[in-house]
């Protein structure tokens, strides 16, 4: 038992962090966000690095690693707020891989793994999926509706503006398509877990920003981080970031190693991280004071991403209710 990344995972994390820090400097992210666009060059590089297929079996052109490795990337992508179709494409891969028939997987996964066939996933409510990331550029759109998943051809839908200008969303009308053979629930849980990890990265970054600022900024001749009003707030942020990280990695591990607990673990992670993501980023704004409320400071992009992520693939309230249902009168969970 070892609650820590192994050497390979640590190396993926370090490489990703370095790559992303170089490619997505804050000013570049701002430029992309203000233009509402992605950096296609960096996306190509990610494809060359094999990122889109990190969790896809080698037989389908992927790297044959697991959800933990995917989540490592998601955390790092969240940390720099990468404007990129990585998440939407991975989401499609996760659903097809877990719910597709052998033939469907063989047909679609290689393109998703290489990035040549971009996918995305939308959640239908009523007669439309109101918020589908990258539906305007994806060639393959998986529509989730209750316990059915349908694949339709993209691009589709109408661009919509959301709080988060670092990600592109469209509204897509529900329509007929090719049904996936299996249960889409495990795929949806993996998506929720991946978002939880992204939220960990987003929150961690804004915690770091708050701590740095609290060390430098002086008021009444004292660094504000020496006031408990600020330092205790930062401690609370750490508590929530670490809690979200523990839950997100546990859910990823469950997806790979103990699929029977995935549903519960994923809902716990998404509920906790949705709340923590919003609270931590909002707290960081409070620590920054006025400057954090200006467009020219980067903080707001993180705050908005955190809020929007919290509403994707199930809100905290929905996941909390599911946790209550799934834990029911269950027995004490002891060490596995």
């Amino acid at each position: 038992m070892n609650f820590d990344l192994n050497d390979d995972q640590r190396s993926i994390k370090a490489t990703a962090a370095e790559f992303l820090a170089a490619r997505f400097k804050p000013d570049h992210v701002r430029e992309l966000a203000e233009a509402g666009s992605y950096d296609e060059g960096v996306w190509k590089e990610m494809c060359e690095l094999g990122w889109p297929g990190i969790f896809i079996p080698e037989e389908h052109g992927g790297q044959g690693l697991g959800q933990v490795e995917l989540v490592v990337l998601m955390e790092e992508l969240g940390r720099v707020l990468a404007p990129s179709p990585f998440f939407s494409n991975a989401a499609a891969g996760l659903v097809i891989q877990t719910a597709g028939s052998e033939e469907q997987r063989a047909r679609w996964l290689p393109g998703i793994a290489s990035g040549e066939l971009r996918g995305t996933v939308g959640e239908v409510s009523g007669d439309r999926a109101p918020l589908v990331a990258d539906a305007d550029s994806a060639e393959l759109i998986v529509l989730l509706d209750g316990d059915s998943a349908t694949v339709v051809e993209g691009p589709l839908g109408e661009r919509v503006e959301t709080l988060d200008s670092t990600r592109r969303f469209s509204a897509v009308e529900a329509r007929a398509g090719e049904q996936l053979a299996g249960d889409p629930e495990p795929g949806r849980d993996r998506i929720a877990g991946a978002l939880a990890a992204e939220l960990v990265g987003v929150a961690q970054q804004t915690l770091d920003m708050a701590v740095d600022y609290a060390k430098q900024r002086k008021q009444f001749d004292t660094p504000i981080g020496a006031y408990q009003g600020v330092s205790h707030r930062c401690a609370q942020m750490l508590l929530e970031v670490e809690g979200a990280r523990a839950a997100a990695y546990y859910a990823a591990w469950a997806a790979d190693a103990e699929p029977e607990t995935l549903a519960l673990a994923a809902s716990m992670a998404k509920a906790y991280a949705s709340d923590a993501g919003w609270r931590v980023t909002a707290s960081s704004l409070q620590v920054h004071g006025g400057i954090g409320f200006t467009w020219e400071h980067d903080l707001h992009f993180f705050l908005k991403r955190a809020k929007v992520d919290g509403h994707l693939f199930g809100t905290a309230r929905e996941h909390r209710d599911r946790v209550a249902a799934l834990s029911g009168l269950g027995l004490l969970t002891t060490t596995r």
Binding site: L131, V160, Q219, T294, T315
Partner: protein
């Protein structure tokens, strides 16, 4: 204890309601310039009918009415969806400061054009490096012939681009402890030495401005309250900000709460027990905010000056408004991220509530030290 309006107060409200109904200027036009002109015209009409300075003394052009009547006025303006007046900062803060600390010449010179909206005022207190710690401000005023030469930078200045006068606090003596070397000026904004740059907020809008001041000239007669007394004069301005503006804010919360209930019904969530708890709690907190605002007025009317209790109202308002806009996001569910709804804007805007006009941390300090009498931070 009597929470009913007195006959005079009731008569005031009836008269006001009738007047607003007869004179309501309709919808505000689009665009900042046009909207501001519209608000100026509206204020001129109000002033002409005697509604502009409700609680100002009659000798200075006001109505000489009580703070309760001022509060009734604020409530009715919001309730009737009439636009606010153009010169809010001067009416609520600048004018009362001149009345309290200005000399007779200043009162005569400045007060009438405030009421008529001929001269708009803005407030130059905050600086990039002295947010909560006002007394650490660095903008400096050097003595020159017959006046002062001012250089520095101000931030979070509402209406700066419309303003004729700026309530400016600057350092006039660097050799004394920091609270003591400050002076309160009225700075003419119509000079090249003062540059206004809009400050874009996280909402994408810009309500505020930065001021870049380089060798601006202020004549001696524009010092309010005497050289070196700037700290005390500024506190008067801030007290009025928390006491009076807070009143209008609670009315806005009541309106927002009505809209939130409409949203709940529209979404068919009126029987959702969790939503009901949320709305119930917000209703209670908004009501407590309203009641405390009235209690605050009662106190001010008794003691004559706004006290540190005003900080409680500002603090509580920020929490209620943040909580209310977050509730709206939860109620909108999966569609909450969409910018198409005004709630998304309000939700972002509310994040500043716990910072603007005194951060919650500073307000808690004030409450702890000045209301509860706890020792000052760092006391031994």
């Amino acid at each position: 204890m009597d929470l009913t309006l007195s006959p005079e107060e009731a008569a005031f409200r009836e008269e006001l309601r009738a007047w607003i109904e007869a004179n309501s200027p309709g919808r505000e036009p689009e665009g900042d310039e046009a909207a501001f002109e519209f608000r100026k015209r509206w204020q001129r009409e109000l002033d002409a009918a005697g509604w502009a300075g409700i609680s100002w003394p009659k000798e200075y052009g006001g109505r000489g009415a009580s703070l309760i009547e001022q509060a009734i006025f604020n409530e009715e303006i919001v309730r009737s969806k009439a636009p606010p007046m153009a010169n809010v900062l001067a009416l609520a803060m600048g004018g009362p400061t001149v009345i309290a600390h200005g000399d007779e010449d200043q009162k005569e010179r400045y007060l009438p054009p405030i009421l008529s909206a001929e001269e708009i005022w803005c407030q130059g207190f905050s600086e990039p490096d002295s947010g909560s710690d006002l007394a650490s401000l660095k903008t400096r005023a050097e003595k020159t012939d017959g006046g002062w030469s001012v250089t520095g930078q101000k931030v979070w200045t509402t209406f700066a681009h419309h303003a004729k006068w700026c309530m400016l606090v600057a350092r006039t003596d660097r050799d004394v402890p920091k609270h003591k070397g400050l002076t309160y000026f009225l700075m003419d904004m119509e000079q090249d030495a003062v540059q206004v740059r809009p400050l874009v907020q996280i909402t994408g809008e810009s309500e505020f401005n930065e001021l870049f001041i380089e060798d601006a000239y202020i004549p001696d007669e524009n010092v309010v309250g005497g050289v070196g007394n700037g700290w005390m004069v500024a506190i008067t301005t801030l007290m009025h900000e928390r006491a009076t503006l807070a009143f209008g804010l609670q009315v806005q919360v009541q309106i927002a709460l009505l809209q939130l209930r409409e949203l709940v019904i529209e979404r068919g969530l009126e029987n959702d027990p969790i939503v009901r708890q949320r709305i119930g709690q917000l209703t209670i907190e908004a009501e407590v905010l309203r009641l405390n605002a009235y209690r605050g007025l009662t106190q001010i009317m008794k003691t004559g000056v706004p006290g540190p209790e005003g900080s409680l109202g500002k603090w509580q308002w920020s929490e209620v408004n943040q909580s209310l806009t977050e509730a709206a996001m939860e109620i909108r569910g999966a569609e909450a991220p969409l910018l198409e709804s005004d709630w998304a804007y309000r939700f972002l805007r509310a994040r500043a509530n716990s910072i603007e006009g005194g951060t919650t941390e500073i307000l808690k300090n004030i409450v702890a030290e000045r209301v509860l009498g706890l020792p000052r931070m760092g006391a031994k």
